[in-house]
């Protein structure tokens, strides 16, 4: 019984804890059999019926106590049987709604009592007692493992010799007989059902598709699979559902009914729970009756369908026969052997067959599941993999500082991805993906190509040169771009042979082999295999061949293979970079090859292939260095002067890739490459334009380069390229170049002249992020100019910019905040920003996890606060906003700290807000930062301190938190901005006498030195003079007074002096 229940019964999958039996004909049949067995038990085996179960069978019953009659003690809500066990416990105990039954006799009687509802009761019993045999006979008896079960039971039973055991044995045997019977029975049942298979379902769906569409005559409006992925066994259902026999899910929209979500399974067709909110998921639960096939189902569900169907029935069936005369017979054949097996064999073997059959079916179905998971995982991987990739690129920019850099990383990544989508899996983890994918192939039906290729590989292995060449040429005729062929070559061991051929000195074989390798190495798996088989060193050696066509092919293959890190590393390690660079030198044609061989290509072609390979290789940092060391840059510069587009693209591509390195940028400048880049920008080829723009983008970090671009007239071309927005990659590159170029003021003027600003504003909407980052970056630079700010506002650029503040792209946010900060300098623009709630959005970006975004947002907030009318009010309106800002002072990123200090400076201008941030502990936090030697931070920190002094006893507090002494040392800095800010802060702090003493004690600052320092700054000079006077006076007085105690009067006196002088300085500045 146990086996039958677990194997044959169809359990629903929905619940984990309490699974229920589905109401299928098969289950019903099984239950009926069980009931018959139990009901007749009491008559057939009266002795065994008295046997008390080891554990009671418990379940919830709907039966009313009143239904029980004689032989039972009936209470209000309880029923006890009169029959009791040795200990006097009743063998049936009902306490509504729970029932416990402890022998077959009571079980039989119970079913008799239940009458009409006995099926339901039996079902409930089976559901609640998933392992009835264990409960009846004890756990030992449940170790019934298919064949050995009987033996096991006999073993158990023969050990004990008392009568109870004899009974037990008998029951065990009876149960196993029942089990067998059930299995046979269900098998018969299964064989009676019209079991659908993937092919027939597919045919049905295809057929219906042909008759679907708009219009009255069609049978359906639409029919489609929920999943595009088809497993090798023809199913589309996920593997864990395939185990339940489900084949696929279809969305059908009939003319007269809502869209139906239908499950096609081996048992038939039924309505499922439909699509769930969770995208792509389906509620697999069965929601309706099972129909024998899709057409029957739809006829039942949709009147229109059956109407139109009957109209077309004739045509339909005719067509069906015509269309698939080949498809039908195999279906029948498939079914036939099963039937035969059922009718033909004896009972015992039959059972085994069934089990094995089921088993193999199960394993078969399980297998593709791995690959299915792999595909899902693969997708996840790719999205996951982007992050490390991004990280990798970002790390470098971070090193060199400026917050705008990630934009480049973004762009670089973009370009890398585009050229070699799979490159992103350069990390080792992605290699895990290979294995599950292999499995699927092994399982799939092998296409005819596979056998043909296998034959050819045989000739490669066992043939002489002539046979090899023929086989290679023939292999080349296969569609090598197709994955089946690529993998077939690998699977039959072709890769090894192809690579080994490169080691021989048969030129023709090498050429043929490389021609194939070149094609199949477009496949990422094959690339890895080639590297694993040691293909790269041989190919690198082939680069030395005197045959140019061999060189070309080897270089091209390397270009394909070197798309992931390990491969690139291998190329370098085997000296490939030097050899590839040597290929670029197409001028020197060696005398040895004065005579042209038949198989030879032109020098230019060799150089092109070399550049192509270098392009692939140049994605690794070390390779870039190696290319430079091998003298690649002058050669690339020379090739850049040619006019062949297919030569220029890899050359510029390599340059663009390498230009991420400082060394290269210097060399590029020295080799006067910019000029040629600008020239090629004028080419008609979009890819070339893109790479040129990209290279300019990389190089234009450098001021001189930016000037060169302008001098060679590149800006106009860049501006004009903005008009074509179809090619997003190119647009990204062009806007990137414009961004970097616009760092120079002169260039910005030019851009305005070319009306680029207006176009850029137009690009703020409906563009991919790669483009947006650059557009916004460019606008940020342009808006440093007053006229451009006005222009951007007038073109309506501010609303889209503010809209971009809600994005998630880090690089984009950095640029957007910067651009908005630039715009906010204009009070009129500020009004728009404020109206669009831009300040709140900026403020919320302070919570962004990326420090660069935080810093950039804080910077942008400064002009916003400065230029808003009721800034104080506005700032207060942000709930928790001030606390957020103060807490950012705990950051350990210098840029964040500096920007937050600047923001605090502006916030502190409002007295109320100053009070709030003082409460939030701004003073100790600022004081803690004082020991820094970062000039930028020093400057803004000093400013913040000077502004925060204006509240309460903050001045004194700064002194207490030991902020004063370090501040004095800031005066040693070389940055005049730091001096100015520090002087201001010290001036404020010196209003407290203790601080004065501290300043004096840290008196490394001599008055004369100060005067020298501030010669040019009238205001500072005044302040410093003033406060130095104060300091000097206070110290003098202090030395005269009792040591350690600050006379109260002095304090007051000094303050009055300071106030006077401060007033004086204000007058001076206003004059």
């Amino acid at each position: 019984m146990g086996v039958a229940l677990t194997r044959s019964a169809q359990w629903t999958a929905a619940g984990y804890g309490t699974r229920t039996l589905e109401i299928t004909p098969l289950n019903e049949a099984i239950l009926k059999e069980i009931m018959m067995f139990v009901e007749s038990f009491i008559y057939k085996y009266p002795q065994e019926a008295r046997y008390v179960f080891v554990e009671p069978l418990e379940w919830k019953t709907d039966l009313d106590p009143s239904a029980f009659e004689s032989g039972y003690i009936v209470g209000e809500t309880t029923v006890k049987s009169e029959e009791v066990d040795e200990n006097g416990q009743p063998l049936l105990f009902l306490s509504v709604p729970h029932i416990k039954i402890r022998n077959f006799g009571q079980l039989s009687r119970f079913l008799l009592i239940a009458k009409d509802t006995k099926l339901k009761e039996a079902q409930a019993c089976v559901e609640a007692n998933r392992d009835p045999v264990a409960k009846i006979l004890g756990l030992d008896y449940n170790t019934m493992k298919e064949d050995t079960s009987t033996v096991n039971i006999l073993d158990k039973v023969t050990k004990g010799e008392d009568s109870e055991n004899e009974i037990k044995m008998k029951i065990a045997r009876l149960l196993s007989q029942l089990d067998l019977h059930l299995l046979n029975h269900s098998l018969k049942h299964i064989s009676l059902e019209i079991s659908l298979n993937p092919t027939s379902v597919k045919n049905d769906i295809e057929m219906l598709k042909n008759f679907s569409g708009k219009g009255e005559q069609t049978v359906l409006e639409s029919i489609s699979y929920t999943s595009d992925y088809e497993f090798s066994n023809g199913c589309r259902a996920p593997p864990w559902r395939q185990i339940h026999g489900e084949i696929c899910y279809v969305l059908v929209k009939p003319h007269d009914v809502e869209t139906l979500c239908i499950t096609c399974s081996a048992e038939g067709v039924f309505l499922n729970g439909g699509k769930t909110d969770n995208e792509g998921e389906i509620n697999y639960e069965r929601k309706g009756e099972i129909y024998k096939d899709l057409v029957t189902f739809l006829k039942e569900k949709s009147e229109k369908f059956s109407e139109n169907m009957s109209k077309q029935e004739k045509r339909f069936s005719n067509k069906k026969e015509k269309k698939e005369p080949t498809n039908d017979p195999p279906e029948k054949e498939e079914a036939a052997p099963v039937q035969k097996a059922i009718t033909g064999s004896g009972k015992r073997t039959l059972e085994k067959n069934q089990i094995n059959f089921g088993k193999s079916q199960m394993t078969k179905r399980l297998e593709p599941s791995l690959s299915w998971k792999a595909t899902v995982r693969f997708k996840e991987y790719r999205s996951l993999l982007r992050d490390p990739q991004e990280e990798k690129h970002r790390r470098r920019p971070e090193r060199s500082g400026p917050p705008v850099k990630p934009g480049r990383a973004q762009l670089v990544r973009k370009s890398t991805e585009k050229i070699e989508e799979i490159v992103s899996e350069s990390s080792s983890e992605s290699e895990e993906d290979e294995e599950p994918l292999d499995r699927q192939e092994a399982n799939a039906d092998l296409p005819s190509e596979y056998w043909q290729i296998q034959k050819l590989v045989k000739y490669l292995k066992g043939g002489n040169q002539t046979a090899t060449v023929i086989a290679l040429c023939s292999m080349k005729d296969f569609n090598l771009a197709q994955e089946t062929c690529q993998l077939a070559i690998r699977d039959v061991g072709g890769l090894e042979v192809l690579i080994n051929l490169l080691d021989t000195d048969e030129v023709k074989c090498k050429i043929g082999s490389l021609k194939i390798l070149k094609e199949i190495s477009h496949n990422p798996q094959i690339r890895r295999n080639i590297v694993d088989l040691g293909g790269l060193p041989v190919m690198v050696n082939t680069l030395d061949s005197p045959h140019k066509s061999l060189k070309c092919l080897a270089a091209e293959t390397i270009a394909n293979v070197a798309k992931f890190r390990r491969a690139r590393q291998a190329v370098r390690r085997y000296g490939g970079i030097t050899k590839l660079v040597a290929l670029l030198d197409c001028g020197k044609s060696s005398a040895e090859l004065a005579q042209s061989s038949l198989y030879d290509a032109r020098d230019v072609e060799v150089a092109r292939c070399g550049a192509l390979a270098l392009w692939s290789c140049s994605k690794s940092y070390t390779n870039k260095e190696a290319i430079r060391k091998a003298g690649g840059i002058p050669l690339l510069a020379r090739l850049l002067k040619t006019s062949h587009e297919n030569m220029l693209i890899p050359v510029v591509g390599t340059l663009q890739e390498c230009a991420s390195e400082e060394n290269y940028r210097a060399a590029i400048k020295a080799e006067r490459i910019i000029e040629n880049l600008v020239k090629n920008l004028n080419s008609e080829n979009e890819q070339l334009q893109e790479h040129c723009a990209m290279a300019i983008y990389q190089c234009a970090e450098d001021k001189e380069t930016r000037d060169l671009v302008r001098l060679h007239g590149g800006l106009k071309r860049l501006a004009s390229l903005l008009d074509n927005t179809d090619n997003k990659e190119r647009l990204a590159a062009v806007t990137g170049a414009i961004w970097k170029c616009s760092i120079s003021k002169e260039n910005v003027t030019k851009f305005r002249e070319y009306k680029a600003i207006e176009t850029l504003v137009g690009l703020l909407t409906d563009q991919p992020e790669e483009v947006l980052v650059n557009v916004v970056g460019a606008l940020g630079e342009c808006c440093q100019d007053y006229e451009n700010r006005v222009l951007v506002r007038k073109c309506g650029g501010i609303p889209p910019l503010v809209n971009l503040l809600v994005g998630v792209n880090q690089a984009l946010l950095v640029n957007v905040t910067k651009a908005i900060g630039a715009c906010a300098v204009e009070p009129e623009s500020m009004m728009i920003i404020d109206r669009l709630d831009g300040v709140r959005l900026l403020w919320s970006l302070l919570k962004n996890p990326h420090p660069e975004v935080k810093a950039s947002a804080a910077w942008a907030l400064c002009p916003c606060i400065q230029n808003t009318k009721d800034a104080g009010e506005m700032v207060r309106s942000f709930v928790g906003g001030l606390e957020l800002v103060v807490n950012l002072l705990k950051s350990d990123n210098k840029e964040v700290l500096a920007s937050v200090c600047a923001a605090i400076t502006n916030i502190a201008k409002d007295q109320e807000n100053l009070a709030v941030i003082t409460d939030r502990g701004v003073v100790p936090l600022l004081s803690k930062l004082a020991n820094t030697n970062n000039d930028k931070l020093r400057r803004h920190l000093a400013e913040a301190i000077s502004h925060c002094c204006m509240w309460g006893r903050n001045r004194v507090a700064f002194g207490e938190y030991k902020a004063v002494a370090p501040l004095v040392h800031y005066l040693k800095s070389d940055d005049p901005n730091v001096h100015r800010a520090t002087a201001q802060a010290l001036y404020q702090l010196s209003e407290d006498a203790d601080n004065c003493v501290t300043i004096h004690e840290n008196g490394a600052v001599k008055r004369r030195k100060m005067e020298n320092l501030f010669e040019n700054c009238h205001l500072c000079q005044r302040k410093v003079e003033t406060h130095l006077r104060c300091v000097a006076r206070s110290a003098r007085d202090r030395s005269g007074s009792a040591a350690g105690v600050m006379p109260h009067g002095l304090h007051r006196w000094k303050c009055s002096v300071c106030t006077v002088t401060r007033r004086g300085s204000k007058d001076a500045s206003s004059q």
């Binding site: 066992g462 002489n464 023939s474 048969e506 038949l598 198989y599």
Partner: protein
Amino acid sequence: MNYGISDNPRHVGLELGYLRTLQCVEATLDMDQKTLKKLVESISNTVKNFKKSEVECLIRLFHSLVERANVRLNNLGLDRNAFRAILHSVFGMTDDMLMNRVFFVFDKDHDNCINVKEWVKGLSVFLRGTFEEKLKFCFEVYYLNGDGYISREEIFDMLKNSLHQQSSEEENDEGIKELVDITLKKMDYDNDGKISFADFEKAVREERLLLEAFGPCLPEAKNCIDFEALAFRHILNSSF
């Protein structure tokens, strides 16, 4: 390790040695200058790939080869064996059958002997032949019975030694047959079961590797260079 290619015994030392051991060509040439001039003149008219001085070198070389090969006979030309010896040792060919076939193609007048004109003409294709010339040459080598087609049987003949490691002859024949089928599938564009010159040309133009589809019948580039370097060494030397 077997790389799937029959080892082609190459005796570099021998082939170069062979040419070097030829006695100094000028000394042994018993032909007066006038006759030589005339001969050079007439050959140069038909063979465009060589300069006159080169033709002269080749004529001298031919005579010294003939002299060396068959002292007993009249100096008519190179017979099959002598020519095969040259093909083998100088141009590194190994397949007897193909060498015979090359001989027959060189031997335009079918007198079983290569005379000086045939020698120079043949070498011009060998060493400096254009693609079309080589195409024609190879096709001629491969079709022997003269009907202008390479038949299935001929292909079978030419390829029958192209497999090794087969356990039995039967298996081998089976393998060759399949290989022939593959070849015909690839090259027989008009599906008439044999390869015409048009078929051959089309296939080779599409894939140059198929030029020597049925066995090597042209010298490898390296051998050509070596040969030229030696044969024309006097010119090269004098030009410096």
